[in-house]
């Protein structure tokens, strides 16, 4: 795996401050699997000399078709604000695909996907990739203005349910409210979203139900070299150990994640 140059094919703003970025990638870019991510950074372009220091930033793969990589991102700070102003033809460096991926839902009957906020990005790739109608998708957002992709999910899956914190769309409440109280065997759950959402799931899902979650942590390198993206994981022996989200993750079995109590 190396860094390659991608060039912007299109950039859209489906909802305010939320952008869909399509990048043309070279053939050398390996096809990513759902759950994997890339690190993006500016190229030392003509204006690079006036650009300040900037670490690369991690983004999940939202979609991939040969030669074309899509990223869904929310404008939250320095680099995403810069990215929001990209225009077709501009180049950026892409490092990836990085990290592990969601294990395929092979042999599972009941497949549930929980996506909170911008966490819909990798879950979109997941549902599209495995394209099973029997995947049930639950999407949550703070408010209608931040709700993304429910149409797209509806095209792929039979059952899509929406919750917003303020009730401006779908059910008023948390996406975790959709979690059934009892679950059939052969259930598997996949989730990505804010820490609070994953932590709720960890309290609600029985240990015997398979659940795989994609975690986020601040990253500098994305390749396991800086040890910046640490997460505590329970070992089989019941001990706490440190793993790197970028290399050992970002997908972990939910029951293995150690949640701090603060």
């Amino acid at each position: 795996m190396e860094e390659c140059l991608g060039s912007v094919v299109a950039i859209d703003e489906p909802k305010k401050d939320h952008f869909l970025l399509t990048l043309r990638v070279p053939e050398s870019f390996s096809a990513p699997l759902p759950g994997q991510f890339v690190m993006l950074r500016q190229t030392p372009s003509s204006t690079a000399e006036v650009n300040g220091f900037s670490l690369p930033r991690p983004f999940s793969v939202y979609d991939f078709t040969a030669g074309s990589l899509m990223i869904l991102f929310r404008r939250v700070g320095k680099v995403t604000s810069w990215m929001a102003h990209l225009s077709p033809g501009e180049a950026l460096f892409i490092r990836g695909p990085l990290g592990n991926h969601f294990p395929p839902p092979t042999g599972k009957k009941n497949i549930m996907v929980f996506a909170g906020g911008i966490g819909v990005a990798p879950m979109h790739f997941f549902t599209k990739y495995f394209r099973k109608e029997n995947i049930r998708v639950f999407v949550g957002a703070k408010t209608d203005g931040e709700l993304l992709l429910h149409d797209t999910f509806c095209e792929i899956c039979n059952e899509v349910k929406i919750a917003t914190d303020d009730g401006s769309y779908g059910r008023c409440g948390l996406v975790t409210d959709f979690l059934p109280t009892s679950m059939e065997p052969k259930t598997v759950i996949y989730a990505c979203g804010p820490k609070s959402m994953l932590q709720s799931l960890s309290m609600m899902i029985p240990a015997e139900v398979d659940c795989h979650v994609s975690l986020e942590e601040r990253m500098a390198c994305g390749i396991g070299a800086c040890l910046g993206c640490a997460v505590e994981i329970w070992t089989v022996a019941g001990e706490k150990t440190i793993r790197s989200v970028c290399k050992d993750g970002p997908v972990f079995p939910l029951k293995n994640v150690v949640w701090e109590n603060k």
């Binding site: 220091f53 690369p56 601040r218 390198c221 396991g224 800086c226 040890l227 440190i242």
Partner: protein, 306 residues
């Protein structure tokens, strides 16, 4: 590039095919960069700091970007000496590049033991003793800021190993030259500088520090002027070979250090941004030498006119 240019430098008995090395903690255990770099072209690989026992490090968030650099509070997470020797070292032996082991102890005894146990381990070319980590109280910060303790640790390690001994200095001191002198008196073969400067950053939205550890080590371009100044001060104070570190992002930066008197340089934070940084810096130095019609990098080293 240009076959006629000599890039080989010497750090005591250690011969490096290039003055471009990697900085501890920023290049993993080397392998992580094998996809990006020709590891054989590096002057040396300095691995992540190793302690006797494995360490879990600090709780996240451990890193945050700041203007001109980043803060890290990794907390010296590492696999420990045993796992390092059995798992991390062997794959590195495939490369034709000296491996320098960065070590730190919680007390004088641990430093001695680390040095003793690494002495003679195949594939270990030299030791870099970190007496300077600002993140962890036990990480040696009390050794690196006091010239007596710095000298003490250096002489203990010196007695425990026949390996070339590099001591790495912290910049969080009033008078770096006096620490350098003490380390020279303690028997170091070379000095590397600088480690990170302790810094802090505040999340004004949540009114709390960005790092769980509150403070962390500042690295990147922001510290380069300080690193260069300290290199200059130390160069005037001691005659040991010096290894320059701090905010080296490109060949121009590296050349500033070589000209100021560093016989080699280490690339740190730059590896995160551009995993090929060490290669591009090596190319850039060679290009500069060719353009300046200098056939031996050693003629450039310390050529600063004042």
């Amino acid at each position: 590039m240009n076959g006629k240019i000599n890039m080989e430098v010497k750090i005591g008995s250690l011969h490096l095919k290039s003055p471009v090395m990697t900085a501890s903690g920023t290049f993993g255990y080397g392998e992580e960069f094998a996809d990006f770099c020709d590891l054989n072209r590096l002057g040396a690989i300095v691995v992540k700091g190793i302690s006797l026992q494995p360490r879990k490090g600090n709780p996240p968030p451990r890193i945050v970007e700041v203007a001109g650099g980043m803060l890290n509070a990794i907390g010296l997470q590492n696999v420990g000496l045993d796992a390092f020797i059995s798992q991390k070292l062997p794959p590195l032996s495939r490369y034709n590049t000296p491996i320098i082991v960065n070590v730190f102890g919680e007390d004088a005894k641990e430093y001695t033991e680390l040095a003793t146990r690494l002495d003679g381990v195949p594939g270990v070319a030299a030791l870099e003793v970190n007496i300077s980590c600002p993140n962890v109280k036990e990480g040696g910060v009390h050794f690196g800021v006091d010239h007596k303790m710095a000298q003490h640790i250096t002489s203990l390690v010196r007695r425990a190993t026949k390996l070339p001994l590099i001591v790495k200095l912290t910049p969080n001191v009033t008078d770096i030259a006096s620490i350098a002198k003490a380390v020279a008196d303690g028997g170091a073969d070379a000095i590397s500088l600088i480690n990170t400067l302790t810094g802090m950053s505040v999340d004004i939205k949540h009114r709390r520090p960005h790092l769980q550890n509150i403070t962390g080590g500042l690295s990147g371009p922001a510290i380069k002027p300080i690193a260069l100044r300290m290199l200059w001060q130390v160069r005037k104070a001691v005659s040991l070979p010096l290894i320059g570190i701090g905010g080296i992002m490109n060949a121009t930066d590296a050349l500033e250090f070589l000209i100021t008197g560093a016989v080699a340089i280490q690339v740190g934070t730059a590896n995160f941004i551009n995993p090929r940084a060490t290669m591009e810096i090596t190319d850039g130095i060679e290009r500069y030498l060719a353009m300046s019609q200098i056939t031996d990098v050693n003629s450039l080293i310390g050529s600063l006119q004042t």
